[in-house]
Amino acid sequence: MSLDVPSSARPSAGGASAPIVEVRNISQIYPGGVEALNNISLTFPEGELTSLLGPSGCGKTTLLKIIAGLLKPTAGEVLVKGRPVTGPGPERSFVFQDFALMPWATVIRNAAFGLELRGVARSEREAVAEKYVAEVGLKGFERKYPHELSGGMRQRVGLARALAVNADIVMMDEPFSAVDEQTRRQFQEDLLRLVATERKTFLFVTHSIEEAVYVSNRIVLLSRRPSRVSEIIDVNLPRDSDPDGIRRHPDYLDTVERIWQTLKHYLD
């Protein structure tokens, strides 16, 4: 199922690239019998931003954490670059919904923390982190502590930390849900710029239809718990035009409407 929009400006059209992540028959049953995921199989193409979208509590985050290696699935397996996942790996990094910054560490130490855990020397890791802190727009805040930053700025630190380890796959768990609407829009535009410059694969969990359509190349719609893949939608919006142009583009509006019509069925 794909919305083919001829005005696509991206060179790598959705679905054509080789899968970098393969999810095979994943089921997850929590202790107590809650069935979060039911036999999910999916592939994530390299170099794309794929969103997992679904009603709240549908297990999107669970699926992302399984791919990250933070959770063991009850059944099924995940392959990353052809190798089965047994735990976290250097080719994957994670952006947390609640930022997960260490309050006792400065912006630069937080951003460099992934490298610190890998034993990279201090001067080297801080040089790398400094570059990414600047890239996410926090130049001049390196010596600040998280409590001195706004929510949006804190998540930028979380993003810099995920980018600094130079993973091929960046997983984002509702990264903008804890920041206000204006900040969120700014963030989405910055994310699109990063996706274009960083050439990484992004896996993005969100419960916002507009956000998913705006930032994604591909949207995986999950049904209510126990979740199955309900639909996969390729989004081909003209990414080179200005942000407001995209938000007014007929394809953008049509896709949002169509996803809403699907998700409506899962409401009580």
């Binding site: 976290p88 947390f96 992934g114 855990l117």
Partner: protein
């Protein structure tokens, strides 16, 4: 971004040379002023109650203060503190080292938790002063008994706070550490312990306060030495100002020491609290 932040900072700086009325108001609302005021009120109430008097054995603040200065001058108070503080320091040091270690171990390992938690919860709930006769039977009336009293008073709260501090490490920080490939040792050293520091120190402060109680209790119940000796002796010869001066001195030293612990924590272990 930096130019904007600079601009904001300049804009929010208050106008220079504030009027006298404003600075007086600020001074009156300064935390230090309020603290001194609360001490002054307590001292005034003490003086008034002593002058009524509420009881013939309740001295005025001024008499107590004079007795305090007198005991400082003749050296009896410092000498008594030297005697009292020795078992206290040993007991608190032992409780802090062993207590934090046991508590952290319980937080990190469920088997140690099952082994330790019931013991320390019982110890925390028990009226430990009742154990003092047993300790006297076991260890006699020397320093060992007094150190043990300090330990049984101080240890449970230190252990249980350290345990809770480790157990309540934010789950997302642990996930973060794991997702960036941290090993167990790194997670403990770089995430769990720094995150537990504030609550561990809260336990150390409570434990030290309990240790002071233990030290004085031991001197009152086992053998009167040090501060306990000054208190019991002056009570027996009705020198109430001296007795109250000794009690007040213990309280002051205890408060100062606990404040010092808080200062050490903020200064050396909580960089984010410094200068902000």
């Amino acid at each position: 971004m930096p130019p904007t932040a600079e601009g904001l900072r300049h804009a929010s700086v208050p106008a220079p040379a504030p009027s006298l009325a404003i600075s007086l108001k600020e001074w009156a609302q300064h935390p230090l002023t309020l603290r001194i005021l609360s001490i002054v009120i307590a001292v005034a109430a003490w003086e008034y109650a002593g002058r009524l008097p509420v009881s013939p054995s309740f001295p005025t603040f001024s008499d107590t203060f004079l007795a305090f200065v007198g005991m400082l001058a003749d050296g009896s108070l410092p000498a008594a503190f030297a005697v009292t503080l020795a078992p206290l320091a040993i007991g608190v040091a032992i409780s802090a080292l062993i207590g934090v270690a046991i508590g952290v171990a319980m937080g990190l390992n469920e088997k140690v938790e099952w082994l330790g938690v019931p013991v320390f919860i019982v110890l925390q709930a028990a009226p430990l002063a009742a154990l003092i006769p047993v300790l006297v039977l076991a260890y006699g009336i020397g320093v060992t008994t007094k150190v043990s009293v300090v330990c049984i008073m101080a240890m449970p709260v230190i252990v249980l706070n350290s345990f809770k501090a480790v157990r309540h490490t934010p789950h997302s920080l642990l996930d973060m550490g794991r997702s960036f490939m941290g090993n167990r040792r790194q997670l403990i050293g770089k995430i769990i312990l720094p995150s537990a520091t504030p609550v561990i120190f809260a336990g150390l402060r409570l434990g030290t306060a309990a240790g002071f109680v233990g030290a004085v209790l031991a001197e009152l119940l086992v053998t009167p030495t040090g501060i306990g000796d000054i208190i019991t002796y002056n009570q027996s010869i009705a020198e109430y100002p001296k007795m109250y001066a000794a009690i007040a001195a213990v309280i002051i030293v205890s408060v100062l020491f606990i404040e010092l612990l808080g200062f050490v924590e903020q200064r050396f272990l909580r960089p984010e609290k410094r200068g902000s």
